[in-house]
């Protein structure tokens, strides 16, 4: 009850904004009509009308297809980047293994100096 009273009081206060209603300045109406009617109107092409039947179905499908393409491209990009990263890691790993192997062989062959080993 009190809430309703408060609301009515607030509404009565807000009605003050009705005071701000003004008459249209003289000449505005004729100026608008004069200027606007010399402007070209937007032509509505036959394609602008709402599609029917299979066209409507295809049009409805198009946003879904766009989403599917976007999703597909993202997945391909992620897989590609992941593949590139794994490939690089493996190459680096192999190079390190080759080096270790060479050191071991050098030790066995006795080509490597003690200082180099330490």
């Amino acid at each position: 009850m009190t809430n309703n009273k408060d609301r009515d009081k607030d509404d009565a206060l807000m009605q003050s904004f009705r005071l701000l209603r003004e008459d249209v300045p003289e000449g505005l109406h004729s100026r608008i009509v004069q200027v606007a009617t010399h402007m070209p109107q937007r032509k509505v092409a036959a394609t602008d009308t709402a599609p029917h039947g299979i066209t409507a179905w295809l049009a409805g499908l198009l946003p879904d297809m766009r989403m599917a393409w976007a999703f597909g491209c993202t997945v391909v990009a992620i897989v590609g980047l992941l593949g590139l990263h794994i490939g690089q890691t493996q190459t680096a790993g192999m190079a390190a293994a080759d080096e270790t192997e060479m050191v071991i062989y050098s030790i066995i062959d006795g080509d490597i100096a003690w200082e180099e080993m330490t």
């Binding site: 206060l13 009705r18 003004e22 608008i32 606007a36 402007m39 602008d48």
Partner: protein, 191 residues
């Protein structure tokens, strides 16, 4: 013209007028502007900073009505709602452009408020000035909600449709606006 002539009564409906305007009927446009310009101008005046800017916005909106009339479809939206939506968009466009101007360049004195002659005229002009300042203190969307619902006296449902928001969202905007304006309106009543 032909469509207008088919209407024997002097008061063709908005839908009839819009159909005629869509076909390039300048006479129908003249009638439509006469019917809706006052509301469009007052909504614009509620949103922008002075009468000159409000005239520019109202003119821009009415020109868009003429240009885009062929895209209006009967039954999709009432003419008043469609036209008000254009006015609202023009107001937002205008305010966005103004906000890009350097500080201090956006609020210019209102010539209309300075034309008061008698004491009562002056008091009323002063009251209006304060009311406009109160409106301006609100954020854009709250200001639009107050302008549509209290200045233009639209129903909440209509105003929500014009602003493109849910009716609950509009009510929320009005509640916040009322809360912010209440102390200022109370002091205005005391003076």
């Amino acid at each position: 013209m032909a469509l207008l002539q088919q209407q024997n009564n002097n008061d063709p409906s908005d839908d009839t007028l819009m159909s005629a305007v869509a076909e390039g009927d300048a006479r129908a446009f003249d009638v439509l502007v006469k019917r809706h310009l006052k509301r469009a101008y007052n909504v614009a005046y509620g949103m922008v900073y002075n009468a000159t800017d409000a005239q520019d916005v109202a003119q821009d909106a009415m020109m868009r009505v003429w240009m885009y009339a062929p895209t209006w479809r009967a039954g999709e939206a009432a003419v008043t709602t469609w036209m008000h939506r254009i006015v609202v968009n023009c107001c937002y466009d205008f305010l966005r452009k103004k906000s890009r101007l350097p500080q201090g360049g956006d609020i210019s004195p209102d010539i209309q408020d300075m034309t008061a002659n008698t004491e009562s005229d002056y008091a009323e002009a002063e009251k209006k000035k304060r009311l406009r300042a109160m409106l301006r203190s609100l954020p854009e969307r709250q200001r639009m909600a107050v302008t549509l619902c209290y200045l233009d006296e639209m129903s909440n449902a209509e105003a929500a449709a014009v602003m493109g928001v849910h009716i609950k969202a509009l009510e929320g905007l009005l509640v916040r606006a009322r809360k912010a304006l209440k102390p200022m309106l109370e002091t205005l009543g005391q003076d």
